[in-house]
């Protein structure tokens, strides 16, 4: 007897009842077909695994910079993570997102709309930086290195970046911080020139990253410094006076894209 049609094996692996009754019988008695079906079924099981949210994430741009610096390679990737490379990763994220919900068969249109939405939501589900770069017409206005202050020697190993992005309607700040995990939480502030006034942008997540909307109308010429503090869980909304890292918006960044500055 000839072996089971590979198409039928593939469809059976997916859980479809494809083929004639004889196919099922053959696939069970023939060692070769049985093994092939088992291997394909394992792929399907792996893909449909409910336990995890595996998805591809694109490393943030600074990773390549550090690799290039370490090996002495000069050029950044021809397709930097901010556009090309992130696309498949983001799309893939969408697929995983889509997999959370199974669509009833009677709702094809909804299902497809859901798939499209999933692709978009998935982008949002990936790293913040991917989310922002895939949002319509955002552009990088400034990239600011955040460094520890000399008066806080305990933070000398901390480092961070703040990437400011602008869309037509708003400005966003993506902050990533490289610090040890400490009791408390990290909060991001904009500091005014007087050294007293400040605006709280919000808290960093457990991975020490955060995406914040800069309040519309903020005069960034005045609030030109970015500060990250370690805040104790004491209920106070005030800056703890423990600054972990700090950086300044450059004048060119302000001229280049600070649409909300006055």
């Amino acid at each position: 007897m000839s072996h089971t049609d590979p198409v039928i094996l593939a469809l059976r692996a997916l859980g479809e009842t494809a083929g004639l009754p004889g196919d099922a019988e053959h696939a069970e008695t023939c060692a070769l077909c049985r093994a092939e079906l088992a291997r394909l079924t394992e792929v399907v099981r792996l893909a449909r695994d409910e336990g995890a949210k595996e998805r591809l994430e694109t490393p943030p741009p600074q990773v390549w910079d550090r690799i290039a610096a370490a090996v002495g390679a000069g050029q950044p990737p021809a397709v930097p993570a901010l556009n090309g490379t992130s696309a498949p990763a983001a799309r893939d994220a969408g697929k995983r997102q889509g997999s959370r919900a199974r669509w009833p068969r009677g709702r094809l249109a909804t299902g497809l709309a859901g798939l499209a939405a999933g692709l978009i939501i998935g982008i949002g589900g990936a790293a913040g930086i991917v989310q922002l770069t895939k949002a319509p017409a955002t552009r990088v206005v400034a990239q600011i290195e955040l460094s520890p202050l000399p008066q806080f020697p305990q933070w000398q190993d901390a480092a961070g970046t703040a990437v400011m992005r602008a869309t037509a309607s708003q400005q966003l700040m993506v902050v990533t911080l490289r610090v040890p995990r400490k009791p408390g939480f990290y909060e991001v502030w904009l500091l005014a020139r007087d050294g007293v006034s400040m605006i709280s942008l919000g808290d960093l997540n457990a991975s020490h990253t955060g995406t914040f909307i800069i309040p519309p109308g903020t005069n960034l010429r005045n609030y030109s410094r970015i500060d990250v503090s370690l805040q104790p869980f004491d209920g106070s909304t005030q800056h703890s006076k423990t600054s972990v890292v700090r950086g300044s918006l450059s004048a060119s960044a302000l001229d280049g894209g600070a649409t909300s500055s006055h």
Partner: protein
């Protein structure tokens, strides 16, 4: 099966071409980073491991033998080694903390399961499929649609959908057998 682009990347890498690392990073950066991120949780740690893995891969590129395995599989192995190093370092740190604090047990981080790595490899290969085939596979895996319904929904001939599914599954399986760890 179309592995041409991976083969190009592998050839450039083996040949030590100056821009090869760029190509390798573009192709496999998300794979390495995702495994590291899933294994370590914290993004800064995953970034460190990603950096270490690619720097180490580049410096030891002479030891890579394309006849003995795929570049993807080699990178997965390097990544797992770097992840293991990072986890050991963490464990050391927490032991020190434990001594200092003299108290509560610190649970050792668990190594990434083989299954998790395989799922990420699978996600990576899915992302490499041509758009129309990828969509067919995504619907076949996640939508509960039969292949006839998929053909109907996507407006594709039934034969095309069948062939996408058969080749797609086989391609995913081959990639898992080459680069995965649970097989």
């Amino acid at each position: 099966m179309d592995y041409s682009s991976d083969e190009d990347v592998t050839a450039a890498f083996s040949g030590g071409q100056p821009d090869a690392l760029t190509l390798v990073y573009e192709r496999f950066g998300p794979l390495v980073y995702s495994i590291a991120l899933r294994s370590l949780g914290a993004r800064p740690d995953a970034e460190d491991v990603t950096q270490q893995a690619f720097v180490s891969a580049w410096r030891s590129r002479d030891t890579f033998d394309r006849r003995r395995g795929t570049l993807g599989g080699w990178l997965v192995t390097i990544t797992r080694n770097k992840v293991a190093d990072a986890l050991r370092e963490r464990q050391r740190d927490s032991r020190v903390l434990l001594q200092v604090a003299g108290g509560a047990a610190v649970t050792a981080p668990e190594a990434t399961s083989d299954r998790v790595v395989d799922r990420i490899v699978l996600a990576d290969e899915l992302a490499q499929l041509p758009e129309s085939q990828r969509l067919v596979m995504v619907l076949a895996f996640y939508s509960d649609l039969t292949h006839e319904k998929i053909a109907h929904v996507l407006g594709l001939p039934l034969g095309t959908v069948k062939s996408h599914i058969r080749r797609g599954l086989q391609r995913l399986r081959s990639r898992l057998e080459a680069d995965g760890v649970a097989h």
